[in-house]
Symmetry: C2
DNA sequence: GTGAAAGCGCTAACAT
DNA sequence: ATGTTAGCGCTTTCAC
């Protein structure tokens, strides 16, 4: 395989000149060099270039699970930004394991100029090592507690709150939640956001109604089975990510529980097929490709030598009400008893409306 | 950052000895070296190692679209094989573009020791260049015409044939197909397999009933809209991959066409949510993770220096009949006329059942 | 603008 | 088993 010296000889110049030309500087012998490169099919050896100059013209994207459509979309966004070059984008998978992530980052730090990282958990100094090695890191989806890294998140708490508010407004009082690991940013934020909003609205989380799972389909499946096995089933459930929502749906189908009659379900993350399943799924949607684009821009800034203080970008989410969430059905809630007593004239429509927005601050209004 | 010489000095040996130790050979001063490595936080520089030895301890997986669950699963399989090391796995996305693929492969050839490639199209000598560079290539999902590369495919033709047989057996005579690009292996094989099986069973593909799309959701969507706009709609459609099936489903929903009453649908590729959509989707399922594992094993063989002739592995597929395919409905087929005459007593339940497994060979039973 | 020379960090060949 | 030496292919001074 031809090297730079071969090109130089053929073009009648020195290797240094060829190198300069290849790096975009103006030289007299452009034509000759271009021709020599062409004829020899020359392409620089990445390793030699990296060794000498310290730049790799590559970045790494490290995610817990490529199989998760969310991360896949993220990657697409990132790639679209870097496509024009000169950086190649490499993707690596940690399989939701901190150990694997450690190994990958340690390896990749020697091969790339920057890293976009969606950490498996928050307990790790791996990214700090990367920084020590002089490789900028941008966090996506998950962040390091009080760290000084660029990061792009979505409004996890806000989305979870919207889901809680939605379910309470529909009249649900016995509500379940399937959360991700609490040592991950989205796991903890969504869980807290959901639970706190319930409390704020005077709804207590009953025993066994908070299931901490693992962001995987199997975890969601098992969690939903546990919820269904409860003495008193929740009338509504919030599932904190796409994969667990799928698992939960399968559990419901398997146990013959009908949505939304027997249970309401709201998921975090839109599913590609959310509108096709029956009933169409109510979800909290977040920008995925955009999140990747944002992260890529931040990293590009660092690669260009930006010395700005760490940026913390938070993207908005939005609740999309569809058919899987509805007021609790007659047979399942005590509210129903109240309803039957008090109102019979308005029964036709009111059940479908968020009429139950009860006692925001339980104590403050008690006397009124 | 410490280099190998620093470690050597600290351990009181030469750099060569450290190098040998790191590569697994036995040395006397193991302990001292290990300690020095530890204390200095030393980690070899990949570029230097690659430059000198020519090995990168990395492989690349190049796919058209990470967002496609099929490729995501493939990657998972590959990673599971390489996880134990010593090779890192990098993933790159070609966005279904031969040009991007060319660029990626040209780049990656200088950085890795082997490539697993799912080509965007078949018209390219890129992989040949990789081979010239001494980098082994294993094809997945798609193959190069008459080439001498290892490859792992699934029984595309067989799957498509099974789908055709299934639909014809149900009684469909006016059948549509949404195919992928015919210059890709799975696109062509599935198309041909399907069409030929129809012919073999005496069913002709009507004008406009063969839609060649692009393996993308949007393509499937548009193709289905075109099929629905036909003067005489097909009573059944075969969609040649997961993404197009999703697009087709959305088109059907959008146009208010009910499955399977107004149309039967069979897809190639199982969908994660196939059982959750209404009605559950009939699909041709193929092993995805296994395909990745197989490809990884083949590449491992080459990396280990195997000189065996190119292996061509074909994995079996299987048709999973679910609810989206059923006999053509009353209003849509002339068969119904026959039915109405002959049977009225069994009308209650029979409509939902595949009872009409009528005249496998139209001509053979005509007189009965 | 250009060439000569040095060297990035490592491993392979050759001694011992 | 270990040290010495050379050099992978490139980029970067440093002169000119």
């Amino acid at each position: 395989m031809a090297n730079i010296q071969d090109v130089a000889t053929r073009a009648g110049v020195s290797a240094a000149t060829v190198s300069r030309f290849l790096r975009g500087r103006r030289v007299r012998s452009e034509d000759a060099i271009r021709r020599a490169v062409e004829e020899l099919g020359y392409w620089p050896t990445a390793a030699a270039r990296s060794l000498r100059s310290g730049v790799h013209y590559a970045i790494a994207v490290v995610v817990p699970d490529v199989t998760n459509p969310f991360f896949a979309a993220l990657v697409k966004g990132i790639e679209s930004v870097f496509r024009p070059g000169p950086y190649s984008v490499f993707l690596a998978n940690t399989d939701e394991s901190s150990e694997v992530e450690d190994a990958i980052v340690a390896d990749v730090v020697r091969r790339v100029d920057g890293i976009i990282l969606a950490p498996a958990t928050e307990q790790e100094e791996t990214p700090l090592r990367a920084r020590e090695a002089g490789v900028p890191v941008v966090f996506v989806d998950r962040e390091l507690e009080g760290s000084e890294f660029d990061s792009v998140l979505v409004d996890n708490a806000g989305g979870a709150q919207a889901a809680a508010a939605h379910l309470v407004s529909l009249g649900h009082r016995r509500i379940g939640v399937i959360s991700g690991p609490l040592n991950t940013t989205p796991g903890r934020r969504r869980h807290q956001g959901f639970v706190e909003e319930l409390e704020r609205r005077g709804v207590e989380l009953a025993e066994g109604c908070a299931q901490i799972a693992d962001f995987r389909e199997s975890g969601g499946h098992e969690a939903m089975l546990r919820l269904l096995a409860l003495g008193e089933r929740p009338t509504a459930v919030f599932s904190a990510n796409n994969l667990m929502t799928i698992g939960a749906l399968k559990a419901l189908t398997q146990m013959g529980v009908r949505l939304p009659d027997e249970m309401s379900l709201v998921g975090f993350d839109d599913l590609d097929l959310a509108t096709l399943i029956a009933p169409a799924l109510t979800v909290v949607e977040r920008p995925t490709v955009e999140q990747g684009i944002m992260a890529a821009h931040l990293l590009q800034g660092r690669l260009a030598g930006s010395d700005q203080p760490p940026q913390q970008v938070t993207l908005p989410v939005r609740l999309i009400p569809r058919a899987s969430s509805a007021p609790p059905s007659a047979t399942l809630t005590r509210l129903q008893a109240v309803r039957e007593e008090s109102s019979s004239s308005e029964s036709g429509e009111s059940a479908a409306l968020p009429r139950a927005k009860p006692r925001r601050r339980t104590h403050s209004k008690k006397g009124a």
